[in-house]
Amino acid sequence: MNVAMQQSTSPPTAAAESRYAAEAQNVTVEFHGHKAVDNVSLGIAKGEVCAIIGPSGSGKSTLLRTFNHLQEPTSGQILINGRPTVPGSRKPKPADLMQLRRTVGMCFQSFNLFPHLTALENIMLAQTKALGRSKDEARERGRHLLERVGLEAKANARPSQCSGGQQQRIAIARALALDPEIMLFDEPTSALDPELGAEVLAVMRELADSGMTMLVVTHEMNFAEDVAEHLVFMADGVIVEQGDPSSVLRSPQQERTQKFLRAVNGR
């Protein structure tokens, strides 16, 4: 465990030299004295797809959420393109957070589409209100993104008129509308049956192929193995093991990883 931790801890480097698009440095998140994430360091290279797996309560979602400060780290810091997300001060300013979240997009397990807006309006809202794009520009970009996720026919449908898989694909398009450099996915297929999950994974695969830097918390071992370049196994708030997905999944070194994978594979 310590070996893995040390490998992932990179020395402080100048912003320009950073090889990581996103990096957590010694991040700890404490809830009422319990460390959900315990001094974790993790770097995601530009264009890399990094998958985080692990049992419930292992801190993987909490760690993911620190990357866009939906979860404030108790200690440690997040760097995006080598720059700390919170420059200098301890408490981030709203402007810092807005800037960060334009660079780091996110998709949620329960999609969180705005139910009172159509698919297209969901995708347009942040473009006009956060980026200041014109309605026409936002609409055109929205239609293009719906087409990219295969849902141009659903432009005027409300979320309640779409399947779960369609909703998640709309949510992906909504996040992409801000032209993020990094995308976070928090168990994007966990609320979906396998068939609907597959259509979401196909969109994510296409996104990965286009060179997007992605951090994905997932229970989809096939996706992790096929698409991810970097696999992280977390348990009890720490990174237990990480590396090339095939080697971690097929010949895990740590006993905790072996136990988890045995349970997942039903053996």
Partner: protein
Amino acid sequence: MTGILASFSAIIAGLGTTLLLAVGGFVLGAVIALPLAWARVSSFPALRFLAGGYIEIVRGIPPIVWLFVLYFGLTQFNLQLTSLGAAVLGLGVISSGYIAEIYRAGLSSVPGGQREAAQALSLPLTSSFVHVTAPQALVAVIPLAVAYFIGLLKDSAVASVIGAQDITAMALALSKRSLDGLTVFAIAGAVYLIISFPVAMFGRWLGQKAASRWAVRV
């Protein structure tokens, strides 16, 4: 029969005042309730405490006492409100406490994931409220607010005590003249019922329309 019709037309003369009391009190309350609800869910404990205290005080004192305080009490400060003014102000203050709690219920009915999604999309706080939270909170607020308005419409009868010329005041005056209290107040009751009913229907229609339009499928 002509007696009933005459009574009805005498009582209906107070309808305008009753509507003014209910609508005026409700609108005033709905406006005061906005900052109040905001303070109630604020992250500053002092604001939460102040708003909570205001709401408890406003709701804990009988409406008639509020009206007496405003109508008779303020004269000590050389402030003599008209009976209608005191009644609208009093009903406004009282309803602000109730409507603030209705707003709060509406806000808490919006799943936390909605605000998180707005944050993750880098939406400014005002946009997040105006375009994401408020429209969804409205679905829960509409039926509660309509029910409260109907209650207020009936409770506005209390204003007759300080001299507002509403339906109840008209009925009271008429009953003294006609000596047929049963008929007169039965007619007054019917008038309240007749105006409450379409409001309730409208509220149900509006609530269903909002809910079906904005329902979330989980």
